[in-house]
Symmetry: C2
Subunit: 239 residues, 2 copies
């Protein structure tokens, strides 16, 4: 099996057992899907959105879908700032357009926290998707540059929002590559990935190698078109 962080927490939830997960852009399909799975796994989740009202509506819908008591505070909604303040690990699941502005505006709220970027900077034309050139090298490196006081990582680029949203898919068979330069942070993010049944969180390299993981989403979309599927990846030959 994959090596796990065994500093703190039970073996079943290494490192993230008592943590609150914030999802910036939590009303979009990727953010919703991951929030749903984390809430279903018993994690405390805060949906963030520009509009706190929309976030609360989404939180209520996800709680209902996950079969969580409406009076519970397991999944709640807030504006992006409130989301960042109240969470320990924060997923950035916003559109690439506006990524820099949002992160700049939340620098103080995200200080000291583990920030997980899952944004894929892709363009689109009649030939399909293609990676955009990013000055910093990748969305994750842009996050690291804009948030010097946060612990930047990158993960969850290749998860299918459609598959995540469908709780009849009880095991999500794919690997989540987790990138970053802070070992303890990437261990926690791997543990967070492991809370979703079927998913393995695998260390995938330093942050400077995030660009190709983000861009690979264009290839998975091409595969989806050709093979009519929701493709992900598995790493082979892991011990």
């Amino acid at each position: 099996m994959i090596e796990r962080n065994d500093s703190g927490g039970a073996v079943s939830e290494p490192g993230v057992g008592g943590s609150t997960i914030g999802v910036l852009g939590g009303t979009g399909p990727q953010g919703r899907g991951l929030a749903l799975r984390w809430a279903a796994a018993g994690m405390r989740v805060v949906i963030g959105s520009r509009d706190a009202g929309r976030a609360k509506v989404a939180a209520g819908e996800l709680a209902e879908q996950a079969g969580i008591d409406a009076g519970s505070d397991l999944i709640t909604g807030a504006d992006n700032s409130g989301c960042a303040v109240s969470a320990d690990l924060i997923l950035v699941a916003v559109p690439w357009d506006g990524h820099d502005t949002l992160l700049t505006s939340l620098r103080a709220e995200l200080a000291g926290k583990i920030v997980i970027d899952c944004v894929n900077p892709l363009g689109f034309d009649k030939q399909g998707r293609f990676p955009l050139r990013v000055e910093e090298g990748s969305a994750a490196e842009q996050a690291a540059a804009l948030l010097p006081d946060s612990r930047a990582s990158a993960a969850f680029h290749h998860v299918s929002a459609v598959t995540l949203a469908d709780l009849t898919v009880t095991e999500v068979h794919l690997d989540v590559l987790v990138l970053g330069d802070d070992r303890e942070a990437t261990d926690q993010v791997r543990a967070l990935a492991d809370t979703i049944p079927g998913v393995r969180g695998i260390f995938g390299g330093r942050l400077r190698n995030a660009g190709q993981v983000e861009a690979l989403t264009a290839n998975l979309i091409a595969i989806n078109r050709r093979y009519k599927t929701h493709a992900g990846i598995r790493i082979t030959d892991l011990p």
Copy 2:
């Protein structure tokens, strides 16, 4: 199962049954490993090298390892030019440094042929591997730009030379992403991948999406270091 090209050839060897495979840089580990597997699968293989003598020596060693009669012409050696002339599909497995010069010198020999680039332009420092910026976007796009009369594709970036060289590994469990803009060519390259037991050749997108597939090799090397393995990838949820 993966869709296959069924224009010509038996179902077991769709599209490449009677073809000769040239391997430019066939004396390097990646080229040798693939040549060995193709020869073992019964394909005709020509090892190419700057030095025809070294290519012939490598061909002899590979024939012996594959258990092929020394008098057979199933696997032979030639200089790079001779290799390109005699083959139908040509794998480019040379170091990135010199890639442009070699391909420019073989423009005439490679005209009309299917060229398969597997080169990963990576740098190395004390923090490990990282992708190099390539002006054309990727090694494969550089090949396409330098060889306007060839049918450029990209594939075989993530195969482990160590695993390929070890014939006791009877099934190589990984997927080969095949990229290109020429459907018939990518179908043939997928069929070529399928000749290696355990390998699936999967269409992975247009050539403009080759850069991240090449660069992902840096991540696989990081995974190898962390998990002490020879990692490859599988695409999940294919029909």
